[in-house]
């Protein structure tokens, strides 16, 4: 009984911080994320004053992030995208999200590894982990601007869809590398019952995780659509949708043992596509619901980041941060410019000005923070990785976020 009350108190404390953060963002006229980050730092400073414990620990943070926060964020992102336009741009999006993410991942890893040059304290596996975390982009600030200024629908879908799909791929990669790093094969343990070894079983494991996730997501999406059509009520539809977001992840990740993120994403896309005709009837309130849920969880992630971030990170790890920033931007740019020319073989071509927007506007945001917060503390290099990712995210928010809208205006988009 006492546990529940404590939990409610801790949740409220953070939600309060999130609201304060939104207020700060309004006063500073900056992105909400930045405001929440500042609020998180303030909340962290106030903790010793109140002598209060938020209950956040690295162990439970990982599960909180994966089973509660990520499903909402991914489902919300997938729900926002218009299925018709998505299918038109599916080729380029998939190309960027698979091939592009792989290139970006490896490039970041190589750059970070050789930038740090410390094979014992920062081995290859740490570099690969950093690469996977930094491969997930979150172009929230340019998407907001695009929605306001009615730019080309194709560009917006490309940016949104690419970020959604590369989040999913990056999370799969992250879970995979983390499984190897912690020698427990975290997800692998459920899928195959044993640790993975050898290139062949790597590929098999990855494809089972990948396609299994897609299959579970398809089934969940259809079931969601059926349930909503059967219930015939706008209120019940919201309940089903929220249940679908958490349920498809739980089912895939915990019960079946395949990729939960892909499952959530496909579930959202399939059910949205199936329910196109019900947009104005049963789904009339879906968009605002996902908006506030997404806003809340976005804010929470950045409050948590603010709570975790410390001053020592900047004094001790500033060099690693700079290396990571250079690596992240360079790898993203290279990956986009290497892969984009291939887009015309799989769908509509991507004009050069869009490539610039894609690479500079590919901020690292909520997914990267969520992933790095979920790193287990028993990895010896976790603090380095966390500082690096925080550094990149901060740079993204402060520099890329503020300049990318100006870049778009300059390119006349």
């Amino acid at each position: 009984m006492d546990g529940v009350i404590t939990l409610v108190g801790q949740g409220l404390y953070m939600a309060m911080a999130a609201v304060v953060g939104l207020g700060i963002a309004r006063l500073l006229k900056r992105d909400n994320t930045l405001g929440c980050l500042i609020a998180g730092v303030l909340a962290g400073m106030l903790l010793p004053v109140f002598d209060y414990d938020t209950g956040l620990r690295a162990e439970n943070l990982q599960q909180l992030v994966f089973f509660v926060i990520l499903p909402v964020l991914i489902f919300e992102a997938a729900w926002k995208i218009d299925p018709d336009i998505l299918f038109r741009w599916l080729g380029p999006i998939l190309l960027l999200a698979t091939f592009g993410v792989l290139v970006c991942w490896l490039l970041t890893a190589v750059l970070v590894y050789y930038g740090i040059q410390h094979p014992t304290g920062f081995p290859w596996i740490a570099a690969l982990l950093t690469g996977a975390i930094l491969a997930a982009t979150d172009p929230v600030s340019i998407v907001t601007r695009m929605r306001q200024s009615r730019v080309n629908e194709g560009l917006r879908t490309l940016v949104e869809g690419e970020s959604l799909f590369n989040d999913a791929v990056a999370i799969v990669l992250f879970s995979f590398v983390l499984g190897i790093a912690s020698h427990s094969a975290m997800e692998g343990a459920e899928a195959t019952g044993e640790a993975v070894a050898g290139a062949g079983s790597f590929a098999l494991y990855l494809s089972v995780v990948f396609f299994g996730g897609l299959a579970v997501g398809t089934l969940c999406g259809l079931l969601t659509a059926i349930a909503i059509l059967f219930l015939r009520s706008a209120g019940a539809a919201l309940v089903v949708l929220v249940l679908a977001a958490f349920g498809s992840f739980y089912l895939a990740e915990h019960v079946v043992g395949v990729s939960g993120i892909l499952s959530v994403m496909v579930c959202a896309i399939v059910s949205r596509a199936c329910l196109r005709e019900q947009q104005d009837t049963y789904l009339a309130h879906a968009a605002p619901t996902w908006e506030w849920l997404g806003l809340l969880f976005n804010a929470l992630i950045f409050v948590i980041m603010g709570l975790v971030i410390t001053f020592e990170m900047f004094t001790q790890q500033w060099l690693a941060m700079i290396v990571a920033i250079v690596a992240a931007i360079g790898a993203r740019g290279l990956a986009v410019f290497m892969v984009s020319p291939l887009a015309r073989f799989v769908g509509p071509p991507i004009p050069p000005s869009w490539r610039l927007v894609l690479s500079w506007g590919g901020l690292r945001g909520v997914i990267a923070v969520a992933l790095v917060l979920s790193l287990p503390t028993d990895l010896p290099y976790w603090w380095t990785v966390q500082s690096m990712v925080f550094g990149v995210v901060l740079f993204s928010l402060l520099v890329q976020g503020t300049t990318s809208t100006r870049l778009m205006r300059k390119l006349g988009l």
Partner: protein, 514 residues
């Protein structure tokens, strides 16, 4: 050893089977769920009654209705039954454009007893090859325009705007027209570099929205007109009053087809529907029309006329009287009569189907009218409207036309298959789409050859008809060479129905004396 290999293969086969069994089971589950979803979705929607009353099964109706279009065209339609162009007509154009043998065997499939159809009257002593001459030269705007236009060509490319047509289509037309020595009408979409690249003669059309020559208020700009006229290739100017697809309504280019390049050529915003006003705001009566033509001719120095669909004919009398009062030099150098049955353009069905006179009424009417007023030599007559086979071109010449324009015939030469999607940006042959994937099917060099062959074979076969009728060249065909089948299925002389008229010079001078 062998047994081990067999066991391995067996194990592998079992594994493959298991995977396929799983896939099949998954597919089955998805299928069942999908059908359940379709059922619920059909039952809960309110827009389509068939789907609501017959869930899932009702969907087949829409599929079949869509597919039926293709089945009818490929399997069930007879050679002479499709509209707007039947397969016999299309095949002739295709064969002419490919320059392959165009002879048929075992008799005509054309029923020779349909009221309204025409037959030509052959001569017992047809023109010998040594007596045949090329079509006589015709000069438009002689003695009036500073630079009159002289050409031998009979069969030219009708106005289809750049915007309605794709870039490769315009390029192919331009090159093909140059090689065949015919003119290319730009349509109302302005003059683009693609029109000019082949080096053909060009007739610049000025639409109601004045695309390409408009000022910031959408009115005619003299400077821009001068710039267009400065091109040596631009030979004539045509003021468009109305078009066959939609008399009484302006041109419509759907927003999906307004690409940045087209917007630039037209001088309008990208991606917005490009809708022309239904009339010229500058003038509202025949005097204004004549003033406008005079102004364009003065600014450009080139022959100027107008294009319209004929409906009400009172205004033509007014026009001719006004011309007689002002003197024959004030007359338009040509009148381009459009039939009422529409072309490639997007148009409301009621206007396309019911508005305006068809060519077999309007052409003799206008020819006779200007002959009566003594203007037949001054005003050249161009006509257009489904005249894509040699017989129809020869008929128009016999009726009194000086030139024949054709749009859709040249579209067939470009590869058009009459999919009738010109207004949707989804043309499967790349003629009227701006989707690069669909355009890549249309190679401008290859299709330019087809355009050339089509024009050349047309001229050749029109000549053949003329020679059979006993005249040395097509421009000497007269109404007496044609009979038309009456309602009892018997041909009667065309000159009985629309007799040749003589100038009423007495009346004309009487009116002049007022």
């Amino acid at each position: 050893m062998d047994l081990q290999a067999v066991a391995t293969i067996y194990a592998f086969a079992v594994k493959v089977l298991q995977v396929f069994a799983m896939l099949f089971a998954f597919g089955l589950v998805v299928l069942v769920l999908y059908v359940v979803y379709l059922y619920l979705s059909d039952v809960s929607q309110t827009r389509q009654a068939i789907r609501r009353n017959f869930p899932v099964l009702g969907r087949f109706r829409y599929q079949f209705e869509h597919l039926g279009e293709f089945f009818r065209q490929y399997f069930f339609a007879l050679d002479r039954e499709e509209m707007p162009f039947n397969r016999a007509q299309r095949s002739w154009v295709y064969r002419a454009a490919k320059n392959v043998d165009s002879t048929l065997a075992f008799g005509s499939t054309r029923p020779l007893n349909q009221p309204g159809d025409i037959v030509f009257l052959n001569h017992p002593f047809p023109t010998l090859a040594k007596d045949a001459v090329p079509p006589r030269e015709v000069t438009v705007g002689v003695g009036v325009a500073r630079r009159p236009y002289t050409t031998r060509s009979i069969f030219n490319i009708s106005g289809m705007s750049f915007g309605a047509l794709s870039v490769p289509a315009v390029r192919a037309l331009s090159r093909g027209a140059a090689k065949a020595g015919i003119w290319l009408n730009t349509g109302e979409g302005g003059l683009s570099p693609h029109h000019l690249e082949g080096g053909c003669d060009i007739v610049f059309q000025i639409g109601t929205a004045k695309y390409g020559v408009r000022d910031e208020n959408g009115l005619l700009s003299d400077e821009k007109l001068k710039a267009v006229a400065a091109h040596e290739q631009v030979k004539m100017f045509e003021l468009k009053l109305s078009q066959g697809a939609k008399p009484g309504k302006g041109g419509i280019l759907p927003g999906v087809k307004v690409t940045p390049e087209i917007a630039h050529v037209r001088g309008i915003p990208v991606g917005m529907d490009s809708i022309s006003p239904n009339g010229h705001p500058e003038f509202r009566h025949v005097d204004g029309l004549l003033d406008m033509i005079q102004r364009i001719r003065e600014v450009t120095g080139k022959p100027t006329g107008f294009k319209c669909v004929i409906g009400n004919s009172d205004w033509l009398h007014d026009l001719c009287e006004a011309i007689q009062k002002r003197g024959p030099e004030s007359a338009p150098d040509f009148i381009n009569i459009d039939s009422a049955d529409g072309g490639s353009g997007a148009a409301p069905q009621s206007l396309m189907d019911y508005m305006g006179l068809p060519l077999n009424r309007s052409l003799p009417m206008v020819v006779d009218l200007i002959t009566q007023y003594g203007l037949r030599e001054r005003i050249k007559i161009i006509c257009a409207g489904k005249l894509l086979t040699p017989s129809m071109v020869a008929w128009a010449l016999a009726m009194g036309a000086d030139f024949v324009n054709c749009g859709r015939g040249f579209m067939f030469a470009l590869g058009c298959i009459q999919a009738m999607q010109c207004n949707k940006n989804t043309c499967p042959t790349g003629v009227t789409t701006h989707n690069p994937d669909l355009q890549q099917g249309l190679d401008p060099m290859d299709k330019a050859e087809r355009v050339y062959h089509y024009a050349r074979n047309m001229a050749y076969e029109v000549g053949t008809i003329a020679h059979s009728c006993g005249v040395p060249e097509p421009r000497q065909l007269r109404r007496a060479h044609v009979e038309v089948i009456n309602e009892r299925g018997v041909p009667v002389p065309l000159s009985d129905l629309v007799p040749e008229v003589a100038p009423k010079s007495v009346i004309a001078s009487d009116r002049g004396a007022h």
